[in-house]
């Protein structure tokens, strides 16, 4: 990426996450249901507020991918407990912060 684009327009979340180091676990540490089972999840909030952009909207449904997760815990505290399985990754996996 050239320096010019760094100054001229905002980076997308995917590009921001590229700056980080991860050791992604094979098993997801967070799971949400699919389809109509998603009723009750704060979809808009998950899409706009998950700092890692793990939640994206496809029509009425939201898709979740755990790979970029920074383990903040936000989705856990804003979702009904029976609609999300949330754990920290095991064995030191996940995000590896250096400068934060």
């Amino acid at each position: 990426m050239s320096q010019e684009t760094l100054l001229t327009r905002p980076l997308k979340i995917e590009d921001l996450l590229q700056r980080n180091i991860y050791d992604v676990d094979e098993d997801p540490h967070i799971e949400i249901p699919r389809g109509s089972e998603q009723e009750g999840l704060p979809k808009e909030a998950l899409v706009y507020l998950c700092p890692a952009g793990c939640y994206t909207r496809i029509g009425d449904e939201i898709l979740f991918s755990y790979e970029g997760c920074v383990e903040c815990g936000l989705c856990r505290i804003i979702s009904p407990p029976d609609k999300i399985r949330w754990e920290y990754p095991k064995s030191g996996r996940g995000v590896q912060y250096r400068f934060t």
Binding site: P42, G92, V95
Partner: protein, 433 residues
């Protein structure tokens, strides 16, 4: 986790709170195990950037010599932002009380200190449960492994999964929680000194309020590191969820941060500095709302963020020094408890007494309610608009400028602010300071 034997104390979490407790206990000859889920201490840590030094010196007297101190904060700035208009106040002082650092670095230093003092640290191990038997905490479980201890110190941070499972606290209420997002920008040598008028070891802490949070209570921060600048936004989670669900928030939180990075007034400082890291973390809005009813039970004490001990006044954040101090006080209470017959609930509750007569508690009580004031739209939206409106009237007139009083009156009526209400509210804030 294949650790055998029984420990006097098991500490969950190698953050500032856990490592302070482990350090004091190990130094006193206790057999201490620290269990950390991350790869080495600090790898899961994210914060703003400024730490109060004196409470840390009380624990680690060699802080100034050996801690990863980036810069001593000699300049504090506060800015109000409305669009491209910015009003900034700067305070400069020769007597810095805080320094800037990265929390991964500082937490690693603190954990190393505990290990040097004789504590055992095992990382990459996630504690899954605090184990209770016959009405007392007897240790911790990770997967199929149980480690027994006379006392468990819960220093798991703001996401209190273990305490929730134990039933000691309720699920985190989003109204007490804020989300922080942060970028670390590599400015290169000399840029910080030149652009911000700082000496070689001098640093700046800069808080920003206004429309950079898109109408959600919260604000921005800027901290100077050695050759990098940390910038970030903090948003009230309860209000942010409401805004998103009502369709009032239509931008991803990372885009709000990127817009802050690219704001014409601020971007001049870091220019085309590369982004080295991006992340997010929850924090406590402030106040006493998250303090558990009991901070000590039979065989367990709760310290740091897990105990809800954080002060956020809007112009300063005290989490690290509060956490470390609570860890120290818990360790001192545990030592006393052992000297007085053992870690029964009654003996461990000395920790509560110690905490409640410490500066941490006094600060929290003194500023009680400030988080509610800070998340009042009158303050985070209207006040910036009002003051920027006054400045605009005073400085942007081509021919005739109003008197300050007229500018003020025009501005309040444009923003539809009741002067009486504003003065009343301001009075209540000043009363808290």
């Amino acid at each position: 986790m294949s650790i055998t034997g029984k420990f006097d104390v098991v500490v969950v979490g190698a953050g500032p709170a856990g490592s302070a407790a482990a350090y004091i206990l190990a130094k006193a000859g206790f057999k201490v195990l620290v269990v950390e889920r991350g790869r080495g201490a600090g790898s899961k840590e994210l914060f703003g950037g400024k730490v109060y030094a004196q409470p840390l010196r009380d624990i680690w007297p060699d802080l100034d010599k050996s801690a990863p101190i980036h810069r001593w904060v000699t300049k504090e700035r506060f800015s109000l932002v409305v669009g491209e208009r910015v009003l900034t106040v700067e305070y400069s002082s020769p007597r810095p009380v805080g320094f800037t650092t990265y929390l991964p670095e500082l937490a690693k230093w603190m954990a190393d200190k505990a290990v040097e003092a004789g504590a055992l640290l095992i990382d990459e191990v996630r504690v899954d449960e605090i184990v209770v038997k016959d009405g007392r905490v007897i240790g911790v479980r990770s997967g199929g492994d149980l480690v027994e201890a006379d006392v468990v110190v819960d220093a798991e941070g703001v996401n209190r999964l273990l305490l929730e499972k134990l039933g000691l606290v309720e699920r985190l209420d989003p109204k007490h929680i804020a989300l922080g997002v942060k970028e670390v920008l590599r400015t290169g040598k000399g840029v910080i000194e030149e652009k911000l008028g700082l000496g070689k070891d001098e640093g700046m802490a800069w808080m920003v309020a206004g429309d950079i949070t898109a109408g959600i209570p919260g604000g921005g921060f800027i901290y100077t590191m050695k050759d990098m600048i940390s910038i970030g936004l903090v948003l009230h989670v309860g209000k942010a969820v409401e805004a998103a669900e009502k369709g009032l928030l239509r931008e991803h939180v990372s885009l709000l941060l990127e817009k802050f990075r690219l704001h014409p007034y601020f971007k001049r400082i870091w220019g085309e500095a590369d982004i080295m890291e991006y992340g997010g973390h929850l924090t406590i809005e402030g106040g006493l709302g998250l303090v558990p009813k009991k901070l000590a039970i039979n065989g367990l004490v709760v310290v740091g963020d897990a105990a809800g001990l954080l002060l956020n006044t809007g112009y300063t954040v005290r989490g690290v020094d509060f956490a470390a101090t609570s860890g120290r006080l818990a360790a001192e209470a545990i030592i006393e408890a052992f000297n007085n017959g053992g870690p029964s609930e009654e003996n461990l509750r000395v920790y509560e007494d110690k905490l409640k007569s410490s500066f941490v508690w006094r600060e929290l009580v003194r500023h009680r309610g400030i988080e509610r004031v800070m998340s009042d739209p009158l303050f985070f939206t209207k006040l910036p608009r009002l003051l920027i409106g006054v400045m605009k009237r005073l400085y942007e007139a081509d021919y005739e400028e109003p008197t300050i009083l007229d500018a003020f009156i025009e501005s309040t009526s444009e923003e539809d602010i009741s002067l009486a209400r504003l003065l009343f509210k301001l009075g209540s804030v000043v009363g808290k300071l």
